[in-house]
């Protein structure tokens, strides 16, 4: 099953490069909500992050995008400091028809996230990586009647397994070439 998935990604990449590309890029400010719960103990961290993405439409309302994110500000709880090191991923973007300058879109993909945790100034336990199926969606509006520039509000679940959840909400701009 895993091999099939990896093979599919390779084939998909070939599919994109051999087609005429309708490209777009985006930049977002992210509010990350990470929750770690173990029995009665629970900690919530809300670090901030900046993300960028580049994508291409393969159909008028279907795009494929690569996204990356890096931490901008850490957060602490229970005397533990947490920062987002990075997030990298690939997602399919499905849009609804535009109505009055706005549209809804959904994201479905796969990504890897690294978090950095520092317990009470010890530097431990350090980093941990989480990779999983990601999904989310958002709303997007044309900015000032522009044909190319959009503003969007988005929410994505990056990871939710084994007592750890990583979610993100973002506000950003997208430029369609």
């Amino acid at each position: 099953m895993i091999k099939k998935g990896c093979l599919a990604f390779i084939l998909m990449g070939q599919s994109i490069t051999s087609s005429a590309l309708d490209l777009y890029v985006g930049l977002d400010a992210n509010y990350i909500l990470s929750e770690v719960t173990v029995d009665d103990a629970s900690a919530e961290f809300q670090p901030l992050a900046l993300s960028g993405r580049i994508g291409a439409y393969i159909e008028p309302m279907v795009g494929l995008e690569f996204y990356g994110m890096t931490g901008a500000a850490s957060d602490d709880d229970l005397d533990i400091d947490m920062d987002l090191s990075y997030t990298l991923g690939l997602a399919a973007r499905f849009e609804t028809p535009e109505s009055e300058g706005g549209k809804i879109y959904f994201l479905l993909g796969y990504g890897i996230t690294e978090l950095d945790m520092d317990r009470s100034g010890t530097g431990e336990p350090g980093t941990a990586t989480f990779h999983d199926f990601t999904y989310g969606g958002g709303v997007e509006f044309r900015l000032g009647g522009s044909d190319k520039l959009f503003i969007n509000l988005q929410a994505v679940r990056y990871y939710a397994k084994d007592d750890i959840e990583i979610d993100g909400a973002s506000l950003g701009l997208r430029y369609r070439f």
Partner: protein, 427 residues
């Protein structure tokens, strides 16, 4: 519309790949994250492994206990963290250790047993030796083994093992075989965690034996009844048990002038009408009474009696008696606004209307819950005219003519929901 085949393939392949790779989902380093949260949540500053044998035999188990030093502001010093630390052995072929700290020895040698959580750790060296056991010695801290108080149950005996070419005795309490010559008088525990603990059940004398590898040591003990001056069981007033419900009773023995010992586990529990109420004498739930049928019953505890011999041995002490009422469980039948009225009227310019909400129980009793925290009021809809408003305590306010349907909802502790509605007509 023509669609590029390649594009369709791309989307299909993307979906397939996402489904395929979802099986790859996972993490590395997340256990350390979770441990850090646990450590800081519990305010643990360090951990330590409790003292244990430094040398043990091949083929036995050794239980380790890890405790935590807690920030001085905590009210729970040194909690047991045995099951939340990570246990490891430096050589699993010599000693393996389970997640609950139980080490099993496999071969001669020396290992380091380590307990870790987050960035905190402690370790103990453990030597496994197949040296021959030469002598066993039973030990106890009990002041006088010839006068052990009847019904006491934490009389601790230990076994030391003296091995070939070793200067220091090993604690072999958990690996010797314990027996009592007269179990009815003195019962000795072989259960994990309480090995060697003697319960004194009847007045008399018994001989305890610790045995291993063909070697034995014995200890004679005597159980006496004079020091137990009274038994008091609680709760002792206004005890009501619902049918199908239960009530745990506790027996406290007074020894000498004022030493109180919980002897719930060693007394004999009796009830005068087992048709209405039963009480358990099983180890797992001794003293637990259960309601069977509506009625009355009396419960009592005694110590030192033996009805299996002739003539029967009378109890050394008998407790106070406690009267218990067994009755059918009361449940909520319904909730009613204004005692079940369908309409309440008011007049424009008149006073606000206070609605009542009453729970009606299966035994016919009622309870006013209009401003209870589990009660919520709301406007369900407008029948006609202007809509009135209702507060969270059931107070209806209005300014114009109209008819409004008001709803009340009560959610009990079992999440069962009861509701009622009333039309408030303002003329």
């Amino acid at each position: 519309m023509l669609i590029d085949t390649q594009k369709i393939m791309a989307v299909i392949l993307l979906l397939v790949s996402v489904m395929g790779l979802s099986a790859c989902g996972g993490s590395s380093g997340d256990d350390e994250f979770k441990e850090a949260v646990v450590v800081n949540d519990m305010k643990i500053t360090s951990i330590y492994i409790e003292p244990s044998n430094s040398t043990v035999e091949v083929g036995v188990t050794e239980r380790y206990v890890a405790r935590a030093n807690i920030d001085s502001n905590s009210s729970d010093p040194d909690p047991d963290v045995t099951t939340i630390v990570r246990w490891s052995s430096s050589d699993e072929s010599i000693v393996s250790i389970s997640a609950s700290g139980v080490a099993t020895t496999h071969a001669d040698g020396m290992v380091e047993i380590r307990a870790e959580i987050a960035d905190l750790s402690d370790f103990k060296d453990l030597t496994v030796s197949s040296a021959a056991l030469e002598r066993i010695e039973i030990k106890t801290d009990i002041d006088n083994v010839d006068a052990i108080g009847i019904c006491t149950h934490s009389n601790e005996f230990k076994a030391d093992g003296f091995y070939e070419n070793e200067d220091v005795a090993r604690n072999i309490t958990t690996i010797v075989t314990w027996t009592s010559e007269k179990e009815k008088i003195a019962e000795i525990s072989t259960e994990i965690g309480t090995e060697g603990h003697v319960s004194a059940l009847l007045v008399g004398t018994s001989i305890l034996t610790a045995a291993r590898h063909g070697l034995v040591d014995t200890q004679e003990i005597t159980v006496e009844g004079d020091s137990l001056t009274s038994i008091a069981i609680t709760p002792d007033t206004d005890v009501t048990v619902f049918i199908g419900g239960d009530q745990q009773f506790t027996a406290m023995g007074t020894y000498g002038a004022d030493e109180l010992i919980d002897i719930t586990q060693t007394v004999d529990w009796e009830v005068d009408d087992s048709g209405n109420l039963t009480v358990s004498n099983n180890k797992a739930d001794k003293g637990l009474a259960e309601g069977v049928k509506a009625g009355d019953a009396t419960i009592v505890a005694s110590c030192g009696a033996d009805a299996s011999v002739t003539p029967a041995v009378e109890a050394v002490q008998t407790s106070n008696t406690v009267d218990v009422t067994v009755k059918a469980a009361v449940t909520i039948d319904s909730i009613q606004i204004n005692d079940g009225a369908s309409t309440k009227t008011g007049t424009v310019g008149g006073s606000d209307i206070q609605l009542t909400a009453t729970l009606v129980y299966s035994d016919g009793t009622t309870k006013d819950v209009a401003d209870d925290s589990k009660t919520s009021w709301s406007v369900r809809g407008t029948n006609s005219g202007e809509t009135a408003e209702v507060s969270d305590t059931g107070l209806v306010t209005y300014t114009a003519v109209g008819s409004t349907e008001i709803k009340v909802v009560y959610e009990d502790s079992d999440d069962d929901v009861y509701s009622d509605t009333i039309d408030v007509d303002i003329n």
